[in-house]
């Protein structure tokens, strides 16, 4: 755990108390069983918003508190522990970052206050295929009078059914795969020609595929510069990745602690199974990985807050190490619980499913290893 300021400690303690009392894993299970259409309970999200969590990275002048990414990361770590389903990451971190980093004054004034109160849900629509590949943008944006016309598709958009606004990466020149020629747009979900298809994912969280069929937007929909959206997109994605890594840290820590508790009570061969060295050493290895991953996640969040020049490397490090660690811990959670871990009644499966979805979102281990190597010049 990083050395925290008083404000950060208060934020974390509030998040811990609230998730444990109001948003336990059983709340997530109830949400899943009720098959809520958005993949989260709006009443739960409203409570989170009421605590100010949607405004943590938004400057005070736009209705936020400006507590920074480490602050929001601490909240996400706690919500990750109990698998709390909400669009907090998508809207209050990813989309808010897009506007804070790339928005004009008018765009910020128009969108950020709503995001900060939680009344408006926004999200990123970036990927177009089965893998995170933010340069692979084929969705075309052509000039249309003063404004633009968008044609193409976006896949696996987090909270895609809940969002009222999308931050969409589009191609205004060049080929899919090029960094040049990417432009970002803000597109309202109710725009004519925008069709969304709800996806039912293993982790029960909300996601959608989007089709853009001649979607017309005005000139004020463009976020940042034409053709030069890549560096902005990369920075926005790094914020989303670091925030997701923080959520994954909480998920992994809880998966580990739940498993450790089980090792201390499950009796076989006349002793608790936690007395067996084969399991002890695996538990120690998981603990070791968690400590290493925590350092990476905290370093990435702090780097963002401090605008450090090595932010991109640290974010890829955090996402990759956290992905590796959560992968291992979630698998071990099932294995160490044995048969009970295979049952739907037990929480292990919920953690396992969430682990894979979170690993994949915004780039898995292979993506970030490759990116880290590129950033280091090899």
């Amino acid at each position: 755990m990083a050395v925290l300021t008083e404000e950060q400690s208060l934020l974390r303690d509030a998040a811990r108390t609230w998730t444990q009392e109001k948003s336990s894993v059983s709340a997530f299970r109830n949400m899943r069983d009720a098959a809520l259409p958005l993949g989260y309970d709006p009443a739960t999200f409203a409570e989170m918003a009421a605590m100010g969590w949607c405004g943590v990275i938004i400057p005070e002048e736009y209705g936020g508190s400006g507590f920074g990414y480490l602050g929001l990361g601490l909240i996400l770590e706690e919500t990750g522990r109990t698998l709390t389903a909400s669009p907090l990451l998508a809207t209050a971190l990813a989309a808010a970052s897009a506007l804070v980093l790339g928005g004009s004054e008018a765009q910020k004034r128009r969108w950020l206050p709503g995001i900060a109160t939680g009344d408006l849900v926004a999200t990123l629509a970036v990927d177009e295929g089965a893998h995170h590949a933010p340069r692979k943008v084929a969705l075309a944006a052509g000039r249309n009078g003063e404004g633009w016309r968008l044609d193409g598709a976006k896949a696996f958009v987090l909270e895609g059914m809940a969002a009222e606004v999308f931050v969409v990466s589009a191609r205004t020149s060049g080929q899919s795969g090029d960094e040049g020629g990417i432009t970002l747009f803000l597109v309202a979900a109710d725009a004519q020609g925008l069709i969304r298809q709800s996806l039912k994912l293993a982790d029960s969280r909300g996601a959608a595929n989007l089709a853009f069929e001649g979607v017309e937007v005005g000139p004020d929909a463009m976020l940042g510069e034409v053709d030069a959206g890549w560096p902005l997109l990369d920075q926005i994605l790094d914020r989303a990745r670091a925030g997701l890594a923080a959520e994954m840290l909480g998920t992994a820590v809880q998966a580990f602690e739940t498993t450790l508790d089980y090792l201390k009570v499950r009796v076989q061969f006349g002793q608790v199974i936690g007395a067996f060295q084969a399991l002890q050493h695996r538990a120690a290895a998981m603990f070791t990985d968690l400590e290493l991953a925590r350092s990476c996640v905290e370093a990435a969040l702090i780097a963002i807050d401090e605008s450090s020049p090595d932010t991109a490397e640290l974010v890829s490090l955090a996402k990759a190490k956290m992905g590796e660690t959560l992968h291992r811990v979630s698998n071990e959670m099932v294995q160490m619980h044995g048969g009970i871990g295979m049952t739907d009644a037990h929480d292990a499966g919920l953690y396992l499913k969430r682990a894979r979805a979170a690993e994949t979102a915004f780039g898995g281990q292979a993506f970030h290893r490759d990116r880290y190597a590129r950033l280091q010049g090899y």
Binding site: L263, Q271, H281
Partner: protein
């Protein structure tokens, strides 16, 4: 309390930089890792001068009190010194087990006379110490040690055998765990300082797979030791040893890191491997593993820094500290394996022509580094310690230690 006047670490930075510029010989730049690994510094005039300068300044042991020859720096200043030394390619010529293990232990548990006698020579790099802990029958189960120490009236009489005593053939002194009570396992152990020039002390170097002999067998036959050389109470050696092992593990994690500050393996790889048109390593499997390793290394370094910050702000070791030895050993060993793989056939040289000095050193380093996960508590012992002390799992052997 630090007794250095410059309380502001950033003000201290300028002072440290200027002093290093004036005193660190350019001929020694970046040679620290290589020379320290060879067990004893060569007698070059520049090395002698540098050692003397560091000894006079007390910066070989920057946080130890000035009264005992240390630098008297606050931890934040010591960190700045470390950064400035690293930036200048400078390295401390004062090290070894006296600095890493015995000094901190004596400062905590030693009698005043013991501190005054033994700490200043360690701080000046003049006294070489070895560690007499392991025995042929007491490795991971250290507390089963059998070296006997009997009260012979005006002195102690020591008989027994130690093994893996690093540098015993060169050491002036040995800090030793001895059995003063046969009936009690842990409470029968005492902590004794033995002059290696005493009659009845014999050392035999052990040749290792690396070809080097950094370790010895050490035999004590009717060795007379003054009564004053007992550290702490009779039968209180185990408590002191556990504390000392914490220093050892902390130091070993640091030592692993020291070996890791050299050139990134990705740079090395560019010299040995084919690159694609974009200048990237063409072998995608190896490239991914190199990146994976560099990330592990970065994670380890970030954790080392975090554990220091937290230990300072909590004024006690952070949970992250417990993982450092194993994590450091693993990263260092992975690095050695990867280095050899990158070098290919050039990474198989044992000695002689056809290989660079770095290639030969890589082979010896790879073999020598296999000890990282064995000494100072094996990787398995460390995992058991984490399981028991941090995770609260029961001892599989039903012991309370």
């Amino acid at each position: 309390m630090p007794d250095h006047p410059a309380a502001d670490p950033e003000a201290f930075r300028a002072e440290a930089r200027a002093w290093l510029a004036a005193n660190f010989p350019a001929s020694l730049k970046g040679r620290g890792g290589v020379m320290m690994a060879e067990g004893g510094l060569p007698s070059e005039p520049d090395i002698r001068a540098w050692t003397r300068a560091m000894a006079d300044k007390g910066w070989g042991v920057p946080t130890w009190p000035r009264a005992y020859g240390g630098g008297g720096l606050a931890p934040a200043q010591a960190k700045v010194l470390q950064q400035e030394m690293s930036a200048a390619g400078a390295w401390s010529p004062i090290g070894g087990m006296g600095v890493m293990m015995l000094g901190p232990t004596l400062l905590e548990y030693g009698a005043e006379a013991q501190k005054q006698r033994h700490i200043p020579p360690i701080a000046r790099g003049e006294a070489r110490w070895c560690q007499g802990f392991s025995e042929p029958g007491a490795g991971s189960d250290l507390a089963s040690l059998q070296t006997r120490c009997e009260d012979a009236g005006d002195h102690w009489l020591v008989n027994g055998q130690k093994i893996w005593t690093s540098g015993a053939q060169w050491a002036d002194w040995c800090f030793c765990l001895v059995r003063t009570d046969q009936a009690r396992k842990h409470e029968g152990i005492s902590f004794l300082l033995i002059d290696m020039r005493s009659g009845g002390v014999e050392t035999r170097p052990i040749r290792l797979i690396s070809g080097n002999s950094p370790f010895c067998e050490t035999f004590f036959t009717d060795v007379k030791v003054p009564k004053d050389n007992l550290v702490g109470p009779l039968g209180g050696g185990w408590t002191i040893a556990k504390r000392l092992l914490q220093h050892e593990r902390g130091g070993l994690a640091g030592a692993g890191r020291g070996g890791l500050t050299a050139e990134p393996v990705s740079d090395l790889a560019k010299g040995y491997l084919d690159l694609d048109d974009a200048g990237r390593i063409a072998d995608s499997d190896l490239r991914a593993r190199i990146a994976g390793h560099e990330m592990d290394l970065m994670a380890f370094q970030l954790t080392a820094a975090r554990s220091m910050r937290e230990s300072r702000s909590n004024s006690g070791p952070s949970a992250a500290t417990s993982i450092m030895k194993n994590a450091g050993a693993r990263v260092a060993q992975d690095r050695a394996e990867l280095t050899l793989e990158i070098m290919g056939n050039q990474g198989l040289g044992w000695e002689g022509e056809g290989f660079t000095r770095d290639e030969l050193a890589a082979v010896r380093g790879w073999l020598g580094g296999k000890a990282f996960s064995i000494y100072g508590g094996s990787a398995e012992v460390q995992d058991s310690i984490i399981a028991k002390r941090i995770l609260g799992l029961p001892d599989p052997l039903g012991q309370s230690r």
